[in-house]
């Protein structure tokens, strides 16, 4: 088990980019200070801005590398929890609760009968559905979660 999302090479790249960027900013600052006119200062100002861009690229690469490493490890360790729970849920329907809820054929969520999403649609009581596919509660009417297993 490693204790950081980054490798040594990532750290070396970051330090190199930050050092190069900082050096360019300081060089630009010194250069600008030593020139008397704006037309002569412009090139040095560009050096400083270039240094800021180099440092920014180094920072962006570092953060993207870290986020990618964390994301890959999370996906590896933590599979889809909702799918796992649905797959392991018992194939039962709480009859009392199901009577009070409705579902549309082929849909994946159950609703309260008064749900706005059910208005004007031919919804059927949850207990009468034939499919044994796992269902989730509607996010609009938010019915109480019940066991609707696969």
């Amino acid at each position: 088990v490693t204790s950081s999302p980054w490798r040594l090479g990532d750290l070396v790249s970051l330090v190199a980019a930050l050092a190069a960027g900082l050096a360019a900013i300081v060089a630009g600052w010194i250069g600008v200070s030593g020139e008397p006119t704006t037309s002569q200062q412009t090139a040095w100002l560009n050096v400083g801005i270039g240094g800021l861009v180099v440092a920014g690229i180094g920072v962006a690469v570092w953060l993207m590398t870290g986020r990618r490493a964390v994301g890959e490890r999370r996906r590896h360790l933590l599979p889809d929890v909702a799918a796992t729970l649905a797959a392991s849920a018992p194939a039962t329907v709480d009859d009392d609760a199901a009577e009070a809820l409705v579902v549309l054929p082929g849909m994946t969520r159950y609703h309260r009968p008064t749900c706005e999403l059910m208005a004007g649609k031919k919804a059927m009581p949850l207990g009468r559905r034939r499919s044994r596919r796992a269902l989730a509660p509607c996010g609009v009417c938010e019915p109480d979660p019940i066991e609707v297993g696969a």
Partner: protein, 93 residues
Amino acid sequence: MAFLNYVRNQWDRVGAWACIALGALALLLGWLGVSSHAYPAEQNSYIASGGLLGLFLLGLGGLLWISADLRDEWRKLDAIEQVLADREASTER
């Protein structure tokens, strides 16, 4: 003592705040420098120093802060992996 422990444990977040504070100070000084001079040729050195250095330090502070968050998440994943490994080992016995 508690403060020192906090600094030791959260060095990246403390560094982030230090960089952000220094960056804001550099930007402020650059602004004051630019405001106090009438000619662009005199103002440019403040832009090149206070402005660019301030932005650099603000970026460094953000880098340290987000890196600290990612390290925290990584450590949580370490703990989860350890629990899963222990559970797997106990079921094999």
